[in-house]
Amino acid sequence: MTQFQSETTDTGIGVVRPVGRLNMVAAPRLRSLVAELVAQGTARIVVDLSETESMDSSGLGALIAGLKTARQAGGDLRIAGARPQVEAVLDLTNLRRVLRPRPDVASAFAGD
């Protein structure tokens, strides 16, 4: 079962860390986690993929849904620390054209 760790940094950035597989079963939970964070006023979110073993298209769909939620609240959603399997999925669907993976959580909102 996929676990989600979630925290807010000192700079007010929400970090969500899916641990395990981000697939069609886990995707709805990621969507609602992001929605909750945004509803609580944290509209700048990093999804930390360093503990995410694999991802399917439903997982990508949840990232896109989260991006929309964050943008509509004036914030943004970024992804960080993707492993090779996840990078491959980003390439396959061309999602890299939209979402640029950041090396790690610390650098995700650097400069913004």
Binding site: G61, R71, R97
Partner: protein, 686 residues
């Protein structure tokens, strides 16, 4: 060979059984089409038809057109060419006719959601389908996707332990995209690996999943389509509801080219394939929208600047700032920056410009704040949930939309379009294609373009209801045709990347067949013209003419006969010509819709019979006029021949032609005179 086999069998029993099973599975799933003697014979006929057809039509173009009567001669040769292409495409479809072996058992632990789509069908009918769906043997969850959001249906479904999904709040005020939207909405709230889609009237067999899921052992398979068969259709099928040629040889032929079609119902789809399609479409569409907006931005901004009063210097400065942000976004995109980053920076810059503008203009600021305050107190009064968020959202609105910058509607739309949230759609992911009123064909074509495979499983596993009155039937056919022509115009298969040449032609073949209305008019007009006036569209009814035409017609009919053996294919042939007003209207309305943005006047096909008081002759007026003209032409032509004004041969040929036309059109009379059963089970009040 025998030694190899012995080695295999003397090994572990279990593993050799597994090997055998694997071989069976491989045979059932392999894309190879075995070359049986039957298929060889079929191919000989296909080649013969093509050769004889080309022999006739090329000669027609080069040698036989009666140019002095070009106004009928050219349309006729064009119509004949149309029919030849139709025949060639049919031959290509039959070339790899594929009768699949039964698939292996379902993949272990496959999870399935069963979707029953409904909009306004009677609650009893929907419930009957849903309860049958509950009885499907393979483990699954049953959902009713009620686009009518009817409380009564929800109550009864939940009492029976069936889930109901209605549109989420996101859809309010946005395009609903009919059935495609209904399915896309449900895909976001469910999580099964596979999805079985059923129309509200398609009652499934309990074995439907056991018989189809096995194809998904091939990880590249995205879709398995089964036939659509109707139970409420009389033996003689007056409305041509059954499509035995399509749900049979045509789908089997397309399947041979890995182009089996998705037909909207009675099909199982792989969620991963749909979601992957949704994600890649999202990327394509965001990229298209952003680059297109950036391209036209200069014009929009220049127009906005011209509309400003000379005194509005701050607004002018703000527009300059937007123009600067546009220029920078263009440069970033060219440098390969990701769209989310480019648009985020753009929005930040526009926000900053708007803020400067507001700061500079104290009066504007105060009035804005007053409006915000009024709105927030209204929201507070209504107990507006987390007030923090609303204030944040309102503050943002104040910057972008309520500042004098946002007052220019075109600029506001421009700014909103340079984003990655697809604000114009209810959800960013739309796996089911929304470019057409029939979502199935476009979705399937996009899946094929992504490299997915599809399968046609030729076994009736659901029984549906066909329209029982002529008006409903005509509406349904019009909608199917309009949807197909929309796809042809919006995403022409001939130019879609990712499709094989054969797949392109398989999609094109179906679209081509919907253009038959224009050819039909010519086939009705040509004999009338000769019988009434003696004008022949060909130079002469010479031996050459008959020697080329007759063998082609004969072998073409033979091919059709061999393929349609034991099937009632004549009804379909009749309707492909007799519904010419429907086909023509589908093309003209779809062109008006796609090219000029007019509405299609789209109607949902009612599953209930419409009230029938009088026979609906008015629905087929064009066909009746044509029939009357044909009969008059017979009389006039016979008189002309009898009085020596027309040749016996020419008259005879054209009389035979008219007889064929009348035989085709006679189906219309049958359809108008048909009355459905007096009381249909679904209409009995509970």
């Amino acid at each position: 060979m025998s030694r190899h086999r012995r080695t295999a069998w003397t090994g572990s029993g279990a593993s050799s059984v597994r090997q055998l099973a694997d071989r069976e599975t491989a045979a059932a799933l392999s894309p190879r089409v075995p070359l049986t003697p039957g298929l060889v014979g079929l191919r000989v006929l296909v080649v013969l038809t093509a050769v004889l057809g080309l022999n006739y039509v090329v000669w027609r173009w080069l040698e036989s057109i009666n140019w002095s009567a070009w106004w009928i001669a050219v349309p006729l040769v064009v119509a004949e060419t149309y029919s030849l292409v139709d025949s060639l495409l049919f031959g290509l479809t039959m070339w790899r006719l594929r009768r699949r072996r039964p698939p292996p058992p379902p993949p272990e632990g496959a999870t399935v959601d069963v979707f029953i789509t409904t909009y306004n069908e009677p609650v009893d009918l929907v419930m009957a389908t849903a309860e049958a769906a509950q009885q499907i043997r393979h483990p699954h969850r049953t959902w009713i996707l009620d686009d009518g959001a009817r409380p009564e249906l929800r109550e009864r479904a939940e009492a029976a332990g069936i889930g109901v999904i209605t549109r989420s709040g996101e859809w309010a005020g946005r395009q609903r995209h009919a059935k495609a939207g209904n399915l896309n909405n449900a895909l976001m709230t469910t999580d099964g690996e596979f999805v079985l889609i059923l129309d509200a009237d398609q009652v499934p067999d309990p074995a439907i999943l056991d018989r189809t899921l096995g194809y998904f052992r091939d990880p590249q398979t995205a879709l398995v389509q089964t036939p659509q068969v109707f139970v409420n259709v009389p033996e003689d099928d007056p409305f041509g509801s059954q499509a035995p040629l399509f749900y049979g040889p045509i789908q089997q032929g397309k399947d041979g080219w890995n182009a089996a079609f998705f037909c909207g119902s009675n099909a199982v789809l792989r969620r991963e394939a749909l979601m992957q399609l949704g994600v890649s479409r999202y990327v394509t569409e965001v990229e298209l929208a952003v680059t297109r907006t950036l391209r036209t931005a200069d014009r929009v901004l220049a127009r906005a600047r011209r509309g400003l009063d000379p005194s509005q210097t701050e607004a002018r400065a703000a527009l300059d700032a937007v123009a600067g942000a546009v220029a920078r976004s263009r440069a970033d995109l060219r440098a390969g920056a990701a769209l989310a980053d480019v648009t985020y920076r753009f929005q930040q810059q526009v926000d900053a410009a708007a803020r400067r503008l507001v700061d500079a203009d104290v009066t504007a600021l105060e009035s804005d704040l007053a409006e915000i305050a009024a709105l927030s107190s209204e929201l507070d009064a209504e107990e507006a949930g987390p007030a923090e968020l609303d204030r944040a959202a309102l503050a943002r609105l104040a910057h972008r939309d309520w500042s004098p910058l946002g007052a220019v509607e075109t600029v506001r739309a421009l700014v909103r379009a340079i984003d990655v949230d697809r604000d114009d759609e209810a959800q960013p992911l739309m796996p089911m294609a929304t470019i057409s009123v029939t979502e199935d064909m476009a979705t399937c074509m996009r899946l094929h373009a992504l490299g997915w495979r599809t399968a046609y499983h030729h076994e009736t596993l659901a029984l549906g209801l066909a329209p029982e009155d002529l008006g409903t039937m005509l509406t349904q056919r019009l909608r199917w045709a309009q949807g197909t022509v929309q796809v042809m115009l919006r995403e022409n298969p001939l130019v879609q990347r990712g499709l094989t040449l054969a797949q392109r032609l398989m999609y094109w073949a179906t679209m081509w067949s919907y253009l038959s209305g224009f050819a039909a008019v010519v086939y009705f007009a040509a004999p009338v013209v000769f019988l009434v006036s003696g004008i022949l569209p060909v130079q002469a009814l010479s031996a050459d003419f008959f020697l080329r035409l007759v063998p082609f017609l004969a072998v073409n009919q033979l091919l059709f006969y061999v393929i349609g053996r034991g099937k009632r294919s004549w009804r379909g042939q009749q309707y492909s010509l007799a519904l010419f007003p429907v086909w023509i209207r589908s093309v003209t309305s779809a062109v008006a819709n796609v090219v000029f943005g007019r509405s299609l006047a789209f109607a949902v096909t009612p599953k209930e019979r419409q009230a029938q008081t009088r026979r609906p002759w008015h629905l087929v007026r064009p066909q009746l006029v044509v029939m009357a003209l044909l009969v008059v032409a017979v009389v006039v032509g016979t008189v002309r021949m009898a009085t020596g004004q027309a040749s016996a041969l020419g008259t005879a040929v054209n009389l035979v032609w008219v007889a064929f036309d009348l035989a085709v059109l006679s189906v219309i009379i049958k359809a108008v005179r048909h009355r459905g059963p007096e009381v249909e089970p679904a209409e009995v009040p509970a």
